[in-house]
């Protein structure tokens, strides 16, 4: 029994001294332990994830634009049928893009407003549904294609091929929209 107290004192002294030693040495917890710091929160999102999030946000805007156009012009049946078909292809783009997005836990449920801005990737914003017309859709398709091509330089090959294919689809939409 007589040596219990000294051992406790040694343990307490060590627990107190270790942080002081680390501070004195200018170390932080990240320097002491290799690998991610569990106390530092989730790691920042990678470039590919951020790019995909921006492209997805832009594609979501495109889908909304087509949905608005379809609702705004229900009488022109032929045109509406074409717009619905183009809308379906944009929804397919969105599904493929989302399938490639792997976000860390806690990120996937983030609200759309928390995502990075689509910048020039998105279709141009404008007034209400009544003014939606083919010219606006053509402009949106051209802007989307151009934005995707600008992103090609910084993404992996497989993603570059998907972006290029979607951009080609967008460009072909301009053709059938009368551009």
């Amino acid at each position: 029994m007589p040596d219990i107290v000294p051992r406790r004192r040694i343990l307490l002294a060590s627990a107190t001294a270790l942080p002081l030693l680390l501070v004195a040495a200018g170390c932080r917890s990240q320097d002491v332990f290799a690998g991610p710091d569990p106390l530092a929160g989730p790691p920042p999102l990678g470039h590919d994830v951020l790019t995909l999030q921006a492209v997805i946000a832009a594609e979501e805007k495109m889908v909304e634009l087509y949905q608005t156009a379809v609702v705004a012009d229900p009488q022109a049946l032929v045109r509406t049928r074409m717009l619905r078909s183009l809308l379906a292809q944009h929804e397919q783009h969105l599904a493929q893009l989302r399938a490639r997005l792997v976000e860390p836990p806690g990120q996937a449920s983030a609200s759309p407003t928390a995502r990075p801005a689509a910048s020039t990737a998105g279709p141009p914003s404008g007034p209400g549904p009544a003014s939606t017309d083919l010219a606006r859709l053509r402009a949106a398709e051209r802007a989307s294609a151009a934005s995707l091509v600008r992103r090609l330089a910084t993404v992996p090959p497989a993603l570059a091929q998907l972006f290029a294919s979607i951009a080609a689809s967008d460009a072909s939409h301009v053709t059938v929209l009368g551009g």
């Binding site: 032929v78 045109r79 049928r81 074409m82 619905r84 078909s85 183009l86 379906a88 292809q89 397919q92 783009h93 599904a95 493929q96 294609a145 995707l148 091509v149 090609l152 330089a153 090959p157 497989a158 570059a160 091929q161 998907l162 972006f163 290029a164 294919s165 979607i166 951009a167 080609a168 689809s169 460009a171 072909s172 939409h173 301009v174 053709t175 059938v176």
Partner: protein, 152 residues
């Protein structure tokens, strides 16, 4: 990853096939369709020359075009000529996908722009669009609306 030269040669081969095919298709078309075929033929010629120059700059020899190509189906009227032109553009779009995947950023850009031109011409000839030109992503999820008819 495909090398730049291999990707360029694949695109060159597709352009050569398109040049041959447009020659066949154009003979069965008239008026504005024939003019469009002529524009397509000219555009593919220019692309072929650009690709050959890129290949030479990389120290390789551009592969020569074949003397003749096997057509995918008989072409005997305007409808089959238009179908052939659309098929040719599909092949060109697929061929440029390889170029989009190389490391060189300028080649990626060139390939992507060529894909857009080919997809637009295919849409013109076919009167419809694809969700993923050049890619085969919809084998398991084909939508009845996956192919889009243009408004008359």
């Amino acid at each position: 990853m495909t090398t730049s030269v291999a990707a360029l040669q694949a695109a060159l081969a597709a352009e050569d096939a398109a040049i041959f095919g447009y020659g066949v298709a154009g003979a069965h078309l008239t008026g504005s369709s024939q003019a469009a075929a002529m524009r397509g033929w000219t555009g593919h010629h220019e692309a072929r020359d650009a690709l050959a120059a890129m290949i030479s700059r990389l120290g390789a020899t551009p592969t020569a075009a074949q003397a003749s190509y096997q057509l995918p189906f008989p072409v005997h009227d305007a409808a089959s000529a238009r179908a052939l032109a659309a098929r040719l553009e599909d092949g060109v779009t697929r061929a440029y996908l390889g170029l989009v995947a190389v490391r060189d950023q300028q080649l990626r850009h060139f390939g992507a722009m060529a894909m857009q031109g080919a997809a637009q011409r295919a849409a013109f000839w076919r009167g419809s669009t694809e969700a993923f030109p050049g890619l085969n992503l919809l084998a398991r999820s084909v939508s009845p609306l996956g192919r889009t008819r243009a408004a008359p």
